[in-house]
């Protein structure tokens, strides 16, 4: 049992480090090659965990090899469009000017049911509303609506809208994030005054306090 414990710890950190270095995309929208690596790594790690008669190296070495290839291929893909097409494929237009392109649907083995499901998921019921629908290399469908069906923007309506300002967390469950305070040019004295203004005695009483780049403050106290 001790062997399994140690092996699990080693493999856990090996996979964690691999996935972390490979990048955040691994966790969400994966390309085909990334999906293969993620699926294989999980399987490779499981084998020496289930059978302690198999040397740990038999699981670790393939994980390291695949991790290295993934890093190299991802790096080369950044530099070469041709290689990118080869490894990830190309985005394909499925709907153009409201008309479904059958050839593209067949080529990508995309059924009408799947297409309608994707459209419904994005709040659409009629392909005529769609200018373009593009099947991305990660399998997601991007939809660009016809101009007449797009929501009006503030500038189209002639309305002045406030610019969006990024809010930084200053207090996270009672913990003061000094780096964020410094980033926004504030200090603890400013924070103390702000807490007094919010009728709070100390940061310990705060659940979350954010400060936007335009100076607006949001504060929510911990519930009693």
């Amino acid at each position: 049992m001790a062997i399994i414990f140690v092996r699990t710890v080693i493999l856990y950190f090996a996979i964690l480090i691999s996935m972390r270095i490979m990048g955040k995309r691994q966790l969400g929208e994966m390309e085909i090659s990334e999906f293969i690596v993620a699926a294989l790594i999980a399987d490779l790690a499981a084998t020496p965990l289930q059978d302690i008669g198999i040397p740990l190296l038999n699981g670790l070495v393939p994980i390291i090899i695949m991790f290295c290839f993934e890093i190299i291929i991802a790096g080369l893909n950044m530099r070469s469009v041709k290689l990118r097409k080869l490894t990830y494929g190309r985005p394909e237009i499925i709907i153009r000017n409201g008309r479904i392109i059958r050839e593209a649907m067949h080529k990508n083995r995309f059924t009408l049911d799947e297409l309608m499901q994707e459209l419904r998921a994005q709040g659409l019921t009629d392909t005529a509303q769609v200018e373009y629908a593009v099947l991305e290399t990660n399998g997601q469908l991007s939809i660009i609506l016809k101009s007449g069906n797009q929501p009006a923007t503030a500038s189209q309506m002639g309305v002045d809208a406030d610019d969006v300002s990024y809010a930084h967390i200053i207090i996270n469950e009672g913990r003061i994030l000094d780096n964020n305070l410094k980033l926004l040019g504030r200090d603890r004295r400013w924070l103390a005054n702000e807490l007094k203004r919010q009728n709070l005695r100390s940061a310990d009483e705060v659940y979350i306090l954010t400060l936007s780049e335009n100076g607006s403050v949001f504060c929510q106290a911990k519930e009693a």
């Binding site: 040397p55 038999n58 890093i71």
Partner: protein
């Protein structure tokens, strides 16, 4: 670029390690086979008094490689090799030449298979 370079270096190091391991494994298996063959030849000549300590030394040699074998070889293979060693030892101590022939062949085949598993060949890959 640094990440890719580091990954390429790690791959190159791994490949070198694999090649070195093939050489190390071959040398180890060859020396193990020599030990066993020396004991077998003594037994073949009817000199069991010489064959017994020779095989004891061969078993000792195999056991001393525990640190290496448990890292690189499947434990089931290690167990079957150890069993083959002790089968030969038992037959030599029983001074039964007919049985020694069989158990010697089994041990040599087991050692050969350990070497074949590490060698790069179409057979071992597929």
């Amino acid at each position: 670029m640094r990440k890719e370079l580091a990954a390429a270096i790690i791959l190159a190091l791994l490949l070198t390690g694999v090649m070195v391991n093939i050489r190390v494994a071959s040398n180890i298996i060859l020396s193990l086979k020599e030990d066993v063959t020396a004991a077998y030849q003594s037994a073949e000549k009817g000199d069991f008094d010489r064959a017994k300590p020779q095989l004891d030394a061969a078993v000792e040699h195999w056991m001393s490689l525990d640190g290496y074998t448990h890292i690189f070889i499947r434990h089931s293979e290690i167990n079957s090799t150890t069993e083959a060693y002790f089968q030969l030892k038992s037959d030599i101590y029983a001074e039964d030449m007919g049985a020694v022939e069989g158990s010697y062949g089994l041990l040599m085949a087991t050692l050969d298979s350990l070497m074949t598993m590490e060698q790069l060949s179409l057979g071992s890959i597929f």
